[in-house]
């Protein structure tokens, strides 16, 4: 009976793994080719245009935010006198 159970488990696993192959293919070799391209592009930009857009967005928000923080610090340093 145990042998039958083991057989059933193996069939179930095989069925499930075939189904998963339909949904998920191994795209790692493609990625490896893309990121090992000898083009001198640093890893944070090597994925394509989306990388550059996200980088620029992050930088703008960070630098802009820092400028705003320093501005608020300046405002907070000279409180308005209350009459």
């Amino acid at each position: 009976m145990l042998r039958n159970l083991l057989g059933l488990r193996q069939i179930a696993q095989r069925t499930i793994s075939t189904a998963s192959r339909r949904h998920f293919e191994n795209k790692v070799p493609e990625k490896q080719k893309l990121f090992q391209e000898d083009d001198g592009i640093p890893v944070h930009l090597k994925g394509g245009v989306a990388d550059a857009i996200l980088y620029r967005l992050t930088m703008v928000l960070t630098v802009g935010g820092t400028a705003y923080a320093i501005y608020q610090l300046a405002v907070a340093s000279f409180p308005k006198k209350q009459d």
Binding site: K27, K31, V43, T58, M59, T66
Partner: protein
């Protein structure tokens, strides 16, 4: 000769340490703006840039390891040391909160009624939801070990299944704990009992959420065939972190929920 003759990783120049540092500035000054000037824009900007930094920095590490092959055995050893040292620093972080709890509870002051729990505090019953939470996290420790063994044996489906169960147990813990927080008859402002209870369990809950997120990322990486049966340090790091979170809860349960009631 243009190839490296050593096993180390000479990283490309990266902007993320800088953006990370600035995001920390924005978060801290943002907190000050929120507390004192009723403005949340800096804090929100800080949290957003922090998330953007974390996403891009860790995305780059995946690219460097899985796609570019930079994670040699030597590099992996360094990553292991790094994760271990980070977890040790987190142990010290929690040690502080446990110190505070024991300082106040071992010698309760007259203002508290000279007893622990202090007069007027109705503690939670440790045999109700807190015990269930303990079982949930212990079970998740078993399922994550199942996931690791499946991964090492090349059993893709079992690994995905058991990792998913681990993540679901983590989410279940978080939901249970959130419901407990709504049910407590005491609040964080209820003296030193409230402070120690919510600071310790609150930071623990945050770490459960962080751990569950880390595990979820591992789940998607496994779906995308990033891990091999012999090289999967990202998963191991997540598993170490998860076990740490589990152990902290055990200390919390025994000290605050059980002895502290």
């Amino acid at each position: 000769m243009t190839h490296q003759t050593h096993p180390y990783h000479m990283v490309n120049p990266s902007p993320w340490p800088l953006t990370g540092a600035f995001s920390a500035l924005l978060m801290t000054s943002g907190l000050a703006m929120w507390f004192h000037f009723n403005s949340t824009i800096l804090l929100s900007l800080g949290m957003l840039t922090n998330l953007l930094t974390m996403y891009q920095w860790w995305r780059d590490i995946v690219r460097e390891g899985t796609f570019q092959g930079h994670h040699t055995f030597t590099v992996q050893k360094g990553l292991r040391y790094g994760m271990i040292l980070f977890i040790i620093s987190e142990i010290f972080f929690f040690a502080g909160f446990f110190w505070a709890f024991y300082h106040s509870s071992l010698a309760p002051t007259p203002e508290l009624g000279g007893c622990w729990p202090p007069t007027g505090i109705i503690p939670l019953n440790p045999l109700e939801v807190p015990l269930l939470n303990t079982a949930v996290l212990l079970a998740s420790g078993v399922t994550i070990t199942w996931a690791h063994h499946s991964l090492m044996e090349g059993d893709r489906m079992s690994m995905l299944q058991s990792l998913l169960i681990t993540i679901m147990l983590g989410i279940y813990f978080t939901l249970l704990q959130a419901s407990e927080y709504l049910e407590t008859p005491f609040t964080i402002s209820d003296g030193v009992y409230g402070s120690t209870f919510f600071m310790a369990t609150g930071f623990h809950g945050l770490h459960v959420i962080i751990g569950s997120t880390f595990l979820t990322i591992c789940f998607f990486r496994q779906l995308n065939f990033h891990f091999t049966s012999s090289h999967h340090f990202g998963f191991e790091a997540a598993a170490w972190y998860w076990h740490f979170v589990d152990v902290v809860w055990l200390f919390l349960y025994v000290s605050i929920y059980w002895w502290g009631s």
